[in-house]
């Protein structure tokens, strides 16, 4: 375990242009802009080893970029935009979580590989998890989840 926030502030932690779009790119809906801002902040916070209190693995800019691109494409393809909750795990994965009625959750984990999970809100169904070949394979799963299937 290491102290939180020990990453050096003396040097850039990542190439911000890669992890976050320029102002010129912001023809955005408001939620998407907020998500981009959140990803930018999380990418900075998780760029160095030990970023959490449990010897956390760093999450590189490329992984955050994959998460951002996934969400941007989702915003184009699925309306209304299903706004997710985004967080980072100490084992080096970006977590993107969606809720639906009843507290059911779908979780996409992007890191060294990619996982899709379903967590039942009321325990009426079994939790499930599977590895995905690519991040894009999460789109049909998310559509199905949001449709209540």
């Amino acid at each position: 375990m290491t102290a939180a926030g020990t990453a050096s502030n003396q040097q850039p932690l990542l190439d911000e242009r890669r992890a976050y779009p320029s102002a010129a790119e912001t023809s955005l809906t408001e939620p998407l802009a907020a998500i981009r801002q959140q990803i930018f902040i999380l990418a900075r916070e998780t760029a160095e080893p030990g970023w959490d209190f449990e010897r956390g693995r760093p999450i590189d800019a490329q992984t955050w970029r994959r998460a951002r691109v996934f969400i941007e494409q989702l915003a184009e393809e699925v309306q209304p935009f299903p706004e997710p909750h985004i967080s980072a795990s100490g084992d080096g994965y970006v977590h993107i979580v969606w809720f639906r009625q009843g507290g059911d959750r779908a979780v996409l984990e992007i890191g060294r590989d990619c996982f899709w999970s379903f967590l039942s809100g009321d325990r009426s169904q079994q939790d499930r998890e599977e590895a995905l070949p690519t991040v894009r394979d999460a789109y049909p799963k998310l559509r199905s989840f949001l449709a209540g299937k």
């Binding site: 375990m1 290491t2 102290a3 939180a4 926030g5 999380l42 959490d52 209190f53 449990e54 010897r55 693995r57 909750h85 967080s87 980072a88 795990s89 100490g90 084992d91 080096g92 994965y93 977590h95 979580v97 809720f99 507290g103 959750r105 979780v107 984990e109 890191g111 060294r112 996982f115 999970s117 967590l119 809100g121 939790d127 998890e129």
Partner: protein, 142 residues
């Protein structure tokens, strides 16, 4: 993970007895206050993929309350930033009811000398147990 001169195999670590209380720090970014109870703690609150003890970590970190003279204040004295976390108090007995999890003392896994005697690792986490673990944490948050 194999034993080394400084890191014994996890089976050699002392067991944290069921009557103790664990203190677990939860990052605020992994908690959604507005979500339904039971779903407020998100899976990112716990390592999801590194279930096997590794060369620098036995598992999810926690502290044994009974070993801290001043309880949580000892944590904050070691690292003031931890005040920004949500502190969850979970009886060890409840954790052990999640079949497959073990709680062991692991002074090797914390860098603060003042806390080494109280540090514990939750060992044996799998994705399925992680889901149960975060639901359990949720139960103990007001």
């Amino acid at each position: 993970m194999t034993s080394t001169a400084t890191r014994p195999h996890w089976t050699a670590l002392d067991v944290v007895e069921a009557g103790n209380l664990l203190l677990r720090l939860l990052r605020r970014g992994c908690f959604i206050a507005a979500a339904p109870r039971g779903t407020r703690v998100q899976p990112a609150a716990c390592h999801s993929r590194d279930y096997e003890p590794s060369d620098d970590s036995y598992g999810a970190s926690a502290f044994v309350n009974e070993r801290l003279e001043n309880g949580a204040e000892d944590l904050y004295a070691a690292n003031a930033k931890w005040r920004e976390y949500i502190l969850v108090r979970v009886p060890v007995q409840e954790l052990l009811e999640l079949e497959g999890l073990q709680v062991r003392y692991s002074p090797q896994d914390i860098d603060y000398d003042s806390l080494k005697h109280a540090h514990a690792s939750i060992i044996g986490m799998t994705p399925a147990l992680r889901n149960e673990f975060i639901r359990l944490l949720d139960r103990f948050i007001d």
